[in-house]
Symmetry: C3
Subunit: 269 residues, 3 copies
């Protein structure tokens, strides 16, 4: 009898509250590995899928020349694929970088709003250009499919997160967004809030002999986010080691707020 | 007995939680059409009222010359009316545009913080100048009264929103904020997050023969919001058609996150 | 029996919800006056403590020269102390200003992200430099210890806040961040959302004969926050009077949204 009572109360409570999902939860995969969405609700040929990080992907087969001109796109890219999300920028960039390796597409636009749904970071808008719509669609599909991997080394709690990314070979998206020379190893060492990032970047450069390619902080190179990060290149083993060292110390500091940060996916580094 | 128990528990639970209202809910009208506030709590002659979008309106009869100078206001505007809100910018601009048509006031300042209470958009600060305090007050009152109309074609769910605005004849506020020629038709086609806006603007310019006056995106012309939008002019029928076409496709895309977006008021377009 | 049942339900409800703490609550002291954290979770020599406003303090004894160079720090400051938080900038600046008076440290960096966990304001990153690690550590400790004082005249409700600060004698942090001449009285009059600040600053300059040193608004001098504020100097009695006058009117306006704003600590002005 008591169980039934508790269940009734719980149901009532939950229905009255309907809280909006916290960033961490929202970022969880809606299915394991492949994008998904309530297909009966979205009957648009342009809709490709939805994925982790409140990310959505669409394709426009014949972009209107007015929009080409407004956004400064080369008109030869008749078709575009668009990735946009509320939570995160790094995972989407990493996933898009994989997608561009796998398809005949180019990066036309990358912009990073101040977002993460009230949390400390960015959202994202990434636009692929293609001469053929099937290429644009495939780039979007691959990006959405790769998101769970690249959320795997994002660790978050209620106060912040560490974001750790590694690639043995950067491609055009990372080159466009962060001026990484194509083909070189890439590591991202990022902590939010900014105080977490400060210790991470110092620890990372002490841990391995890497070359720092860039630095960003609330007032420098971010969209006013509460983050500090560096990105590095060098020997791929050293890059990986620097990223891991930053991650370990960052996750420990985040625990100072009481809750150990959890991976949003399956760690890959 | 069980009902009483459930009620006791619910009361206790709700009192312990006191969650802050989500943007969508907060944006709902506090009364139908006219501004309201707990009058017994606010005993200030400057307070005019509160309205949708967590918006508040005040009037200052004799602005101090120090503030005139700090903010660069013409001293002849002894009185100012101020509109400020957490959620939205477009509805407040549209409503203020009506207010300036109806009163002897001028626009002194329009600024758009990154806000919407953790959601993807802007907040707002709009300042009217008047030689007579009654004009400033009236402009604020009209703005607050018109807000429910202009939230009517804002559709939101937990992930984002589409904002659709239309005016047959733009006035000084729209001219000041968006460089619309006064007296011409005006349409706003806006989606958040940015991926939603991309499809909306392409669909809108394909749907009707309109002239695009401006474009904004996370890194161009917004306060780093997660939005993409255009504003257009042209034949008023064509403008309306473009706005409606954008709205339909944007609301469908938003549904990809599982929940159909709902109008925050009563649609007027 | 009923009590036990209620407790069981409450426990279940709370565990299922684990809502992220609202800004107001998160800003409450975790202990009265001294920084604290789950020490068993944070076994890092760099970790100093956590305090109000979701603030954390760390120390790095030997900052890597690569980071010195990246951030433009004078290499003579081998050690740094770092304060970083999600909620607030003024209280952290005031507390750091006290800390720098009490220690042999310098300000190396102050940056203000757009944060406050979805609310209207800033977060913060403040870096002290020292030749000796014990100085850097002490500066961080003092800052964390002083936070409850300087959150004392921050009053918040679900919609916004007023922030009121006063110092008889500004030191290096305020001088660095806001160009206050060292040694002079300092007053901050700040309201969020911006509409609240507008009435506060006008009221403050009318209430006392003070000199306005600076002005900030969503588009001028903030990180796009929904705030309006001024900072003032002059006779210390006049400065205090101006701050109090702004505070009174700001708190009344905030009440227009239904809930009287509450001090986040113990008022000191």
């Amino acid at each position: 009898m008591q169980e039934e009572l508790i269940n009734r109360v719980m149901k009532e409570v939950m229905s009255r509250l309907t809280p909006s999902a916290p960033a961490g939860k929202a970022a969880k995969p809606q299915s394991s590995g492949s994008p998904s969405a309530p297909a009966d609700l979205v009957q648009l040929t342009e809709f490709v899928g939805a994925g982790m990080g409140d990310t959505q992907g669409i394709v426009i087969a014949n972009l209107d020349p007015i929009i080409h001109k407004l956004m400064g796109f080369d008109p030869k890219y008749r078709s575009i694929g668009v990735i946009g999300g509320r939570v995160g920028a790094g995972p989407q960039l990493m996933a898009a970088d994989e997608a561009i390796k796998a398809t005949n597409t180019e990066v036309l636009c990358i912009e990073m709003p101040r977002d993460t749904k009230g949390q400390a970071g960015h959202g994202n808008l990434i636009i692929f250009g293609a001469e053929d719509v099937s290429d644009a669609r495939r780039a979007v599909e691959v990006t959405l499919e790769m998101l769970p991997k690249y959320f795997g080394d994002v660790y978050a709690n209620d106060q912040g997160y560490t974001e750790n990314q590694y690639s043995a070979r950067a491609s055009k998206v990372l080159s466009y967004a962060l001026k990484i020379p194509e083909g070189r190893a890439f590591g991202l060492i990022l902590g939010a809030p900014a105080v977490i990032g400060m210790l991470m970047i110092d620890t990372a450069v002490k841990a391995a002999d890497v070359e720092v390619l860039g630095f960003a902080s609330p007032a420098r190179g971010t969209s006013l986010t509460n983050e500090v990060f560096i990105w590095v290149t060098g020997d791929s083993g050293a890059v990986r080691q620097a990223v891991i060292a930053g991650r370990e110390v960052g996750n420990k500091l985040l625990s100072a707020w009481g809750e150990p940060p959890k991976s949003l996916g399956t760690p890959y580094i």
